[in-house]
Amino acid sequence: MERYLLDYDWTVMGPELIVLAAAALLSIVDLFLKADSDRRWLGGVGLAAIIAAGVFAAFQLGNPPYEVLADTYRVDDFGLILKLILLAGAALLFLSSLSSVRDDGIQAQGEYYYLLLAALLGGMLMTASADMITLFVGLELLSISSYILVGLRKRRMESAEAAWKYVVMGGVSSAFILYGMSFAYGLTGTTNLYEMQARLADAYGGGYELFVYLSLFLMLFGFGFKVAAAPFHMWAPDVYQGAATTVTAFLSVVSKTAAFALIFRVVFGGYYFLYQSQMEEPLSAQALLILAAASMVVGNTIALRQINLKRMLAYSSVAHAGYMLVPLATLGFLFESLIYYLIAYLFMTLGAFVVLMLVEHRTGAETLHAFAGLSRKNPLLAAAMALFMVSLAGIPITAGFIGKFYILMGAVGTDHLWLAGLMLVTTVVSYYYYFGVIRMMYFRTPLTSERFPLPIGAGIVILVSVVGTLALGFMPQWTLDWLATLDWGAALIPIQSGGG
């Protein structure tokens, strides 16, 4: 008997439906507004929608996993947490752009808001899918909206060029992912990731090892691109530099989180049998280890030479992707440390980008020199940025430190000492460029010494990020307790069907 949508509880899809409705509404309304009217209230509507979606999602936490739509849409705790992170990031971005998007050079403001919502929707879909088809659709929705967002400032050459590079690289990586998915489908006859678990194990045992690994590695190739891990990170610096700063922030935080959801769902949802058998180190874990190590090294070393702050932050996000891959590779404190770090990363990176955006608006440049003497022009802003840099570097009393500590403990605990050592070494290397920004702000004198004001929206975002960074650094207990109450294992096993 076919089960149709009406048989299920609709409200589980609440978050996505709200965001979808908001995007549609905004796009229609935007068309009927006059060309020069202020479109910021559209952003406000979008923000309200995101918050409502977040509330919906938060209410679903703690329930057992639930699948709708012929087992393609899955609601489990892991997915919900990631969804909440995405929503939080998008909400903060909306808040910060409310005051500043016009200064960013984005002429098409209405499109900016609902494209952002569409990309957010794609990301949410990725976190909530149990089926390769919806995963791919969500991925592409996110990617294609991002391509357009990057190129939105079409008057500027760099934006168009960055968008071009992004399209090409993104297209190639999507093709790789699809190719890998086709093999996975061929081996198992199903596109549902959880049904694939058992069948892939059979195929693996039945002599099709090569194809199983082929499909996995093709997909990892593509995932490496999406998450900007070395050696697939080539697009990140150019794209981050060319895009408007809010879009860069979006790419750096939301896209990355969604990409991690993707990796998790496929590697641990579909290919979980590799970990269930008693193999000591499945190839997938080794591959992820290599990705992690390469990203850490490459990201941190190349960032040393960067003068353009967006490029520097791009390489830094490559390095952070490396750190975040470590729990996936070593399986030490897998869920807790990954999620903790994602939350910490959200706050510190978003905060840093918003500050960068403000500085860029006032000084017109995005290089390190634009930050010169910021401590005199706006001490609060400089202090906040210093905090974010310190957190990104991983110095105590900040969320970044606790996150890294957690990951390090996981690595050491699972006997990956060399990885832990590498992580520490690269962290020290990263001190140089993170503190470089601090050097600029505090040690140098500014070119002009006018103070500059802080727009409200951006100010609130920076405040929230500062509070988040400090709170997660000082009082991690609340977050840790909360994370421990969630049911992680449910994300790994298929749902026992047969109930109503």
């Binding site: 149709y4 009406l6 549609a24 796009s27 229609i28 009927f32």
Partner: protein, 124 residues
């Protein structure tokens, strides 16, 4: 008639369709004169001497129409199976099927509306 027979017939049609031009043009080659001269082969521009190259810069509106075509063609791809299965689906869930497709078409109509409002559909 069964499956393969139908497609073989189609192949025959294709071959015939290809054969006709080949035959006709070969016959023509035998029958027609062949006296090339410089004046005959220059590009025709209403009788005056041609200027510029044989290409022209495309206006972006061609691309926009092609884009709209692709979008709606893909929509048609989704509409067709839905239409074929409509009756049997309707017996199971009622009008919900209609609402589903309405939502789908609605989103595509937003795209059309966007193109309309941004004056893409006008050939200026």
């Amino acid at each position: 008639m069964d499956y393969t027979e139908s497609y073989v017939t189609i192949v025959v049609f294709v071959l015939l369709g290809l054969a006709l031009p080949v035959v006709a043009l070969t016959m023509g080659r035998l029958l027609r004169p062949y006296q090339p001269s410089a004046a005959k082969t220059i590009t025709y521009e209403s009788g005056v001497d041609p200027t510029g190259g044989g290409w022209v810069q495309y206006n972006v509106r061609y691309y926009l129409f092609a884009l709209l075509f692709v979008v709606f063609d893909v929509e048609a791809v989704f509409l067709y199976p839905w239409a074929v299965a409509y009756d049997s689906l309707r017996a199971d869930v009622g009008l919900f099927i209609l609402v589903e497709m309405l939502i789908f078409v609605f989103f595509l109509l937003i795209g059309l509306l966007y193109a309309w409002k941004k004056k893409v559909l006008e050939w200026s």
